[in-house]
């Protein structure tokens, strides 16, 4: 028994111009593959490790400790915060993990799969999406940690905290769009993933995770910063303090995703040829 409709596939030298509807349909059909890759990566990740799942949160705890100490030594100044500094950092780190972890994993997803991409035909998007899913999983583990820390401090989150997944949606779209582009670029030139980790290291100080949100355009024009601010707002404040900036971030993510995805589809055979 095979699939009900007999599919006819035609390959020639013309550039494939699949419609987004077609791309979406194929992606939907490969949802199970995405899930398999995700389960494979997550369950394999900590299997030969002593601390196991703790690795999903240990880096975040270390960063929080380091910056709490630096702040206590007045290495950098920060205005008043609505919640204790460690809770502020840990909350920001969840959003940051989606962004940084997602991009890092996505960039390496194609090259890491190696022979699989070069020799077997399957929707390559699934590798990128599963990689981002892995980062999302880590973020979810960190969110649990945030909950524990909030409870320890006796902070009651605003009721709008339930909207958090909605706030993270544009972040995910953004990461997926950029991730497609980066996976492709890294498949062609290996410098990309190295350059990416340097760039993310710098970018970390442009978003309000360990520092307060820089006022003005530096935050408003930065979609990632705007989303991190919004995530903080719905959990702590109860309303968006910069709604326009968040709307802008949503708009950017709605452009970046289709652009990245389309480019990925158009150029993936180039990568398969050269991996």
């Amino acid at each position: 028994m095979a699939q009900p409709a007999v599919e006819l596939r035609v390959y020639d030298h013309a550039q494939p111009h699949d419609s987004f509807a077609q791309m979406g349909r194929e992606l939907w059909e490969s949802r199970e593959l995405v899930w398999r890759f995700l389960v494979r990566d997550i369950s394999a990740r900590y299997r030969q490790s002593l601390l196991g799942w703790a690795w999903a949160i240990l880096p975040a705890i270390a960063t929080t400790l380091v910056f709490s100490w630096l702040r206590s030594q007045r290495v950098f100044a920060m205005g008043d915060l609505a919640i204790p500094y460690p809770a502020y950092v840990l909350l920001g780190m969840v959003s940051w993990q989606i962004f940084q972890g997602g991009l890092g994993a996505a960039a390496q997803s194609l090259t890491q799969a190696g022979n699989l991409v070069a020799k077997v035909r399957f929707p390559h998007e699934s590798l990128v999406l599963a990689a981002i899913g892995g980062a999302l999983f880590d973020a979810a583990v960190r969110a649990v940690l945030v909950g524990i820390v909030f409870a320890a401090y006796g902070i009651v989150p605003a009721p709008t905290a339930a909207l958090l997944p909605l706030v993270w949606l544009p972040l995910l779209l953004l990461v997926a769009g950029l991730g497609f582009g980066l996976a492709l670029a890294n498949g062609l030139v290996r410098d990309v993933s190295n350059a990416l980790s340097v760039a993310l290291g710098l970018f970390f100080f442009l978003v309000p995770v360990v520092i307060a949100a820089p006022a003005g355009w530096l935050t408003d024009l930065n979609p990632v910063a705007s989303i991190i601010v919004a995530a903080h707002d719905v959990v702590v404040v109860g309303h968006l303090t910069r709604p326009l900036a968040f709307a802008g971030a949503c708009a950017v993510s709605l452009v970046v995703l289709p652009a990245g995805w389309w480019t990925f589809r158009a150029a993936e055979s180039l990568v398969a040829e050269r991996i």
Binding site: H13, A14, F37
Partner: protein, 418 residues
Amino acid sequence: MTRGGGVLRVEALGKKFCRSLKRSMWYGLVDLARGTLLGAPASRQALRTDEFWSLRDVGFELAAGECLAVMGANGAGKSTLLKLVSGILRPDAGRIEARGRVGSLIEIGAGFHPLLTGRENIFVNGAILGMGRREIERKFDSIVEFAEIGDFLDSPVKFYSSGMYVRLGFAVAAHTEPDLLLVDEVLAVGDLSFRMRCFRRVRELREQGTAILVVSHNHADLARVAQRALVLDRGTAHFLGGIREGTSRYRELLLEEKVGPAAAGPRSPARIVRASLVDPDGRPRSAFRTGEDIGLDIEIESSIPVKDARLIVKLESPEGAVLGSFSSAWSDFGLDVSPPGAVVRLVLREAPLLLGSYGVHMSLCGAAAEDVLDRVRDVVRIRISGPEPGPVGFGVDDSILFAHRWERPGDAGDGWAP
């Protein structure tokens, strides 16, 4: 599922590759930009610097239940063809139409994670090959049984022997029930009993109507499963037709490539300069048939007199195994070489060599064992061009035709007559 109809159609297929990595990146980006901005690029036919056709003008059709063997030397374009058909690479010329599910036995154990158990990997691998969860669950027991991994099902695959790993990979792929199956060299792995099971499975699939495209260097293997053959020679279709003729055409192609001019030996006072093949009448000849007398005229050039010289000839099978050696000293053939040299003839009586190309190596020595004057490899190749082996080769396969017969004990008395 369509049965009996055409499953695969390949028309004037061409694919270019680039020798330089940097240039290939650049060309890729240029092509991408052009394809995106202008739609179908007008000219992908012209070769740019460092580019070459890995595959050119190849066309064939494959119907359900048919098996086509693709043969060719390394670099002839076999793997490129499979990658194009499976849709991993995009053609630069021509067109491919594939109907139905395409399964591939190209990368065995694709996506296996070493730390995951066999059970977990079956699901990952199955999903990559296009099977849904329910389909895998339905076939799970059959897959496990085929793979014969027993108690290792719940161990990480990195503890598997390489044979178990391959068996599990093959088992999953063999259960995809594709309309078109692409097989690349994988039948060469595993032990004999497993290989036989692979063949049985491939044949079963074919009988169920799967069209199969198989690449292998092992002709006996190919003859077992394929009815038709496509012989590729440096990217172009050299032959397309029946498997039997295809096999011999491919062998001949290999012979042409292998027979080259004798390699020049190092400068020594006494050297073997040339060896040529002659028939019983002393006329030069390049190809012989099984059982014929083969003469080998060996020319020695010498600037010094060599007393009690010894000439040793070694005969090598197409696979590179030494079949035998012949020494002038052993035959008490007195050989005194004096300047400017000598010609010696070696005659192989009724040479029992089967179809193929046989290498000839020689050394020229003085009287003492350590006194090696010259040593040449592949000074000439003996080409046996017929008769062809039967369709499956059984009985007259391989290199040597032994004089033999079959009889029933008792037919000719108690013993057997010489």
